[in-house]
Symmetry: C2
Subunit: 188 residues, 2 copies
């Protein structure tokens, strides 16, 4: 069964991308620690060794999944930091954050809820002070307790909301308008 063309379903780099897709799905369902390489292999109908041919360790899979959303997040933060007015800063930040969350719902949920993923996200040499910069932007120029509570509440909620079952029927346009609106309400 030769596959000589790059079909639209599973493009180039097939095996690797399919492994990442399966891992992302299973990680978000069972957590990183709750997902074995055997489960990923079974999901694809291959053996564990086939997965290990693409990634040398389980952690390498997690790192690969985290790379894109973390890079997008850092871009957003940098853009927001470049704004002068606080209102513009918040607008750019909230719109960007919501876009990242809606584009990477499962992975973002992992960073928020899964201790194994959170550890890898922090350790992986990547984005050492990203968390601090994000916190500063959210809490604003007057990081009193009230502002900090609101910003952490919003940040944590946002990261958990992307693939929440109770909102699976809400269309993305509503999410994309409501989430920044609520953010401005909370953080103003």
């Amino acid at each position: 069964m030769d596959v000589t063309d790059d079909s639209a379903t599973t493009q180039r780099g097939t095996a690797r991308d399919r492994a990442l897709d399966a891992a992302r799905t299973l990680f978000s369902q069972n957590g990183v620690s709750g997902t074995s390489l055997q489960m990923i292999a079974d999901h694809l109908g291959v053996t564990k060794a086939a997965i290990y041919h693409q990634f040398h360790t389980k952690e390498e899979i997690v790192v690969t999944l985290l790379e894109k959303p973390l890079a997008e997040l850092e871009t957003i933060i940098t853009e927001a930091e470049a704004m002068d007015a606080r209102e513009d800063q918040l607008d750019v930040l909230l719109k960007g954050l919501v876009d990242v969350v809606l584009a990477n719902p499962e992975v973002v949920g992992l960073i928020q809820g899964d201790p194994a993923a959170a550890r890898i996200a922090q350790v992986g040499r990547l984005h050492g002070d990203t968390g601090r910069r994000l916190t500063n932007l959210l809490s604003g120029p007057h990081p009193d307790p009230e502002a900090r509570v609101a910003s952490v509440l919003y940040g944590a909620g946002l990261m958990s909301i992307g693939h929440h079952p109770l909102l699976s029927d809400i269309d993305p346009e509503t999410m994309r308008s409501e989430l920044p609106r609520i953010g401005r309400l909370m953080l103003r």
Copy 2:
């Protein structure tokens, strides 16, 4: 070293309670799947068998940890449902939810973020429609998409916030006044 009185540190039922304390701490740090019975035993300086003497399975530990906060949650929900005016309903609900979260920060965080804990919380015959009732109360009499997004965002954020490292220096009084206030702002 006899303990005949119920001291404030490790009351009656010593071994069992110490096991629960260790499990709660480790579960919240590493997740349920990321915590082995060996880790719990090591944390207490005992063997795995000592843990298995108190609990027959790992899941039984999780169920035991979830019982109290889930029971408290159901009480709050019932109290709120008994209110006539929407404003009173929301006041009772928000104050109660915040109290539960602040009293059980680690466990509540597990229910929100850990798929293994969430599954046990739902399956464990306990509180079959608690989630639906809570959602109805939060979303209010007009559960349009906007109200639902706000209620899920608040609920998810609240459950993740109890033992968040960025808020560890905020005094409980501030949390207890700010969190319901933000909730009313979002859900009104």
